[in-house]
């Protein structure tokens, strides 16, 4: 018990060591700093950015992407990727809206549950392809990205569901406030906290990290790799189904093209949030903060009157910057660990 702790404290540069450890373990700190800088600087230039209405907007905008990013993190942590999320959002949003419009007698909670189950089923298809049939995730989910969207188009047949067709009670869910916080943001927060708790405290969560960290070692440790990977995809799909409901409730007008292209925003949020794209490390909190940061940047650029066309480029540059920063930190930490090893060897 004492040997290792004494050893740590006895080091003359325990401070540097502690810093290295902290950075190695809490990558999310960087994003928090970036968020504070974003709000500080933009707020200083234009105080309207910090008004309650503006903050509420940012929370609403990031809620859907954050929910998706949480699901995506589970998949990415296992060294896979789920590109199909945007199509699952699309099919769930359209399906839910259509049923609400055509069959108003069905209770809203049942429709919501149905959308989540639909998403989970889509996720199960991905999970079976990747976890059981061993198709590389990039290829499998690229295929289902088009396949699910195709089903969506076929189902819609060019139809569009308008806000007027849907029950008011449902649409209110998309903009209602609870204790001053928009409901979708609360839902995203609840999802985040629940999944975050599981990932940290339950063996099932830790096993996802183990699988992504070293798939071969995971097999040797007796972890049911296929089952876990399948589960990760199912959860990602279910959360995409939930995000589809949030989309329909928030925007009201739904057709078959909903959320097209959003999968890249989600992956960007995950990567910016410090989740290693090759699996094994990163947290759902980081991914959610990444989603918040990206939508915050979009709002900030609008407030700062940056040309809309330039915004995409700036977003891209920021993603690259985040990744480069992450790499630099990783290299620094690796170097420090290596040095430490030499010192300890002596």
């Amino acid at each position: 018990m004492t040997t290792s702790t004494e050893r740590t404290h006895a080091r003359p540069n325990a401070g540097a060591r502690a810093f290295v450890d902290r950075v190695a373990r809490v990558r999310e700190l960087g994003i928090v700093v970036a968020l504070l800088a974003l709000f500080g600087i933009t707020g200083a230039v234009n105080p309207a950015f910090l008004s309650p209405a503006s903050i509420r907007d940012i929370l609403l905008n990031s809620a859907i992407i954050a929910t998706l990013a949480v699901g995506q993190t589970l998949v990415v942590v296992t060294r896979n990727v789920d590109l199909s999320v945007s199509s699952v959002v699309g099919i769930s949003a359209f399906g839910g809206a259509l049923i609400l419009a055509d069959h108003p007698q069905i209770p809203i909670p049942v429709v919501i549950a149905g959308c989540v189950v639909l998403g989970a089923a889509c996720g199960a298809i991905n999970g079976l392809l990747v976890g059981v049939a061993r198709v590389p995730a990039l290829v499998a989910t690229l295929g289902t990205l088009y396949a699910f969207r195709g089903v969506d188009y076929a189902w819609a047949g060019g139809r569009q569901v308008n806000a007027a067709d849907m029950p008011q009670g449902f649409l209110r869910l998309g903009s209602a406030d609870v204790l001053g916080v928009p409901l979708p943001a609360l839902v995203a927060l609840t999802v985040l906290l629940a999944v975050g708790w599981v990932m940290r405290n339950l063996p099932q969560g830790r096993e996802l990290y183990a699988i992504g960290s070293s798939p071969d070692a995971a097999v040797l440790a007796g972890i049911g790799v296929r089952k876990r990977v399948l589960t990760a995809f199912v959860v990602s799909g279910a959360l995409a189904g939930l995000a589809g409901v949030m989309w329909a409730a928030r925007f009201g007008t739904v057709d078959a093209t909903v959320a097209t292209g959003k999968e890249l925003d989600v992956i960007a949020a995950v990567v910016v949030g410090g989740v290693a794209i090759f699996g094994g490390s990163g947290t759902v909190y980081g991914a959610a903060l990444g989603a918040l940061l990206l939508s915050g940047i979009t709002s900030a650029l609008a407030v700062l009157r940056v040309d809309a066309l330039a915004q995409t480029a700036i977003n891209g540059a920021l993603i690259l910057a985040a990744i480069i920063l992450d790499r630099l930190l990783a290299i620094r930490v690796a170097k420090a660990l290596r040095k430490r090893r030499y010192r300890d060897a002596r």
Binding site: T8, R206, S213, S214, D216, V219, A221, G222, G280
Partner: protein, 489 residues
Amino acid sequence: MLALREVSKSFGAVRALREVSLDLVPGEAHALAGENGAGKSTLVKILSGVHRPDRGTLLLDDRPIEFHGPADAQAAGVAVIYQEPTLFPDLSVTENIFMGRQPRRSFGRLDRRAMRTRAVELFSRLGVPLDPDQPTRGLSIADQQLVEIAKALSRDARVLVMDEPTAALSGNEVERLFGVAGSLREQGCAVLFVSHRLDEMFSLCQRVTTLRDGAWVATDVIADITPDDLVRRMVGRDLATLFPKTDTSPGEVALRVERLTREGVFTDVSFEVRSGEIVALAGLVGAGRSEVARAVFGIDRWDAGRVHVAGRPLRAGSPTAAMAAGVALVPEDRRQQGLVMDLSIERNIGLTGLRWGLVSRGAERARATDWAIRLQVKYAHLTDAVTVLSGGNQQKVVLAKWLAREPRVLIVDEPTRGIDVGTKAEVHRLLSELAGQGLAVLMISSELPEVLGMADRVLVMHEGRLVADIPRAEATEERVLAAATGRAA
């Protein structure tokens, strides 16, 4: 306690194990001996539940048992320490130890405190001060191996299988590991110990089973046999056949290196290799031997000096020019530099034959078959990936790849590292034959017996300089070592 009965296992057409039986008894350390490719690793993987035998049975406490996966074997009390650590680099040392069977609290939560306490206990029992909260990414191989050992200990294993655990450990660490293994054995644990180091088998184990070519050869009580007996069982012939260098009369100068210098790496290196001659380049690790070879072959540039191949100057810094002039380099690290591991055997052999990036499939195959036969590579199909071959056979494929070009000068860097005794002799025979056919061979080797047995002349490097050029007749272990360590030759 745990036993194998006439177990067989094949991978494709390669029969890795043929009707092997083995008994592990409580309180006994059992050694498993055999050359590379003899089937030791396959046997370990059957015990650990990674592979399932094609035929034969596993007995646990005299009852047949089937392992459907590593989890089953673990549940049966089998703990395995693999040759290469199987850790999760992103997770902490503690999490690595308990992954798959963590202690729980209410709601199924992990009991982190209990895990940490037990990890600290394990490390104090092992006598190593490892930080249980550190991620394993930064750990040295030796420390990673210690984590593996702690993992095995934490399982309260009844059967401890160690697959070459000492390869990366220093003397102290080996002793400590043996101490732990010994005390486990005294507590009634059965130990299976796989190693290439005979002295370790003899100091740790009571019985030894020898495998050769996947088949059981003998099971002996260690006290009744000598290391020489064991080697004979492993190889199936006497060691005297090693290093069969035939005498040749050297011909023209094939490779002449004049005052070659690369700043900070080697200085003023001059030597000649004649065709039909095997010249060894000896020296300690880091003396600059491989660097000279890399420079001659054009991988690295040199700052001063000249290289002539068959009397014509060689352009610096161009492997293409070196290859065109007839120089071939078989690098030290065959996995990283010598082979494309996922490509097939024939593709690998054909690789250096690329002309403007094109190959003729038929010619490639004919050439691959020809060389595979001449070098006696053991394979199932030429289209198999190189990864499935044993280390010795991989080395033969690398050799085949270069020999297929019919080079004038062959540079081999540690040609027999990590290769078992039998294949080693074959590689030696091959080099010797090639020299007999007029090839000039420059052999970098850290194994003195190999250097002394094979070389017509021994060049010795020390700290980047060539310090001695000793003819075969005068080369002794003492002289080479003296020169290599910088004492006057």
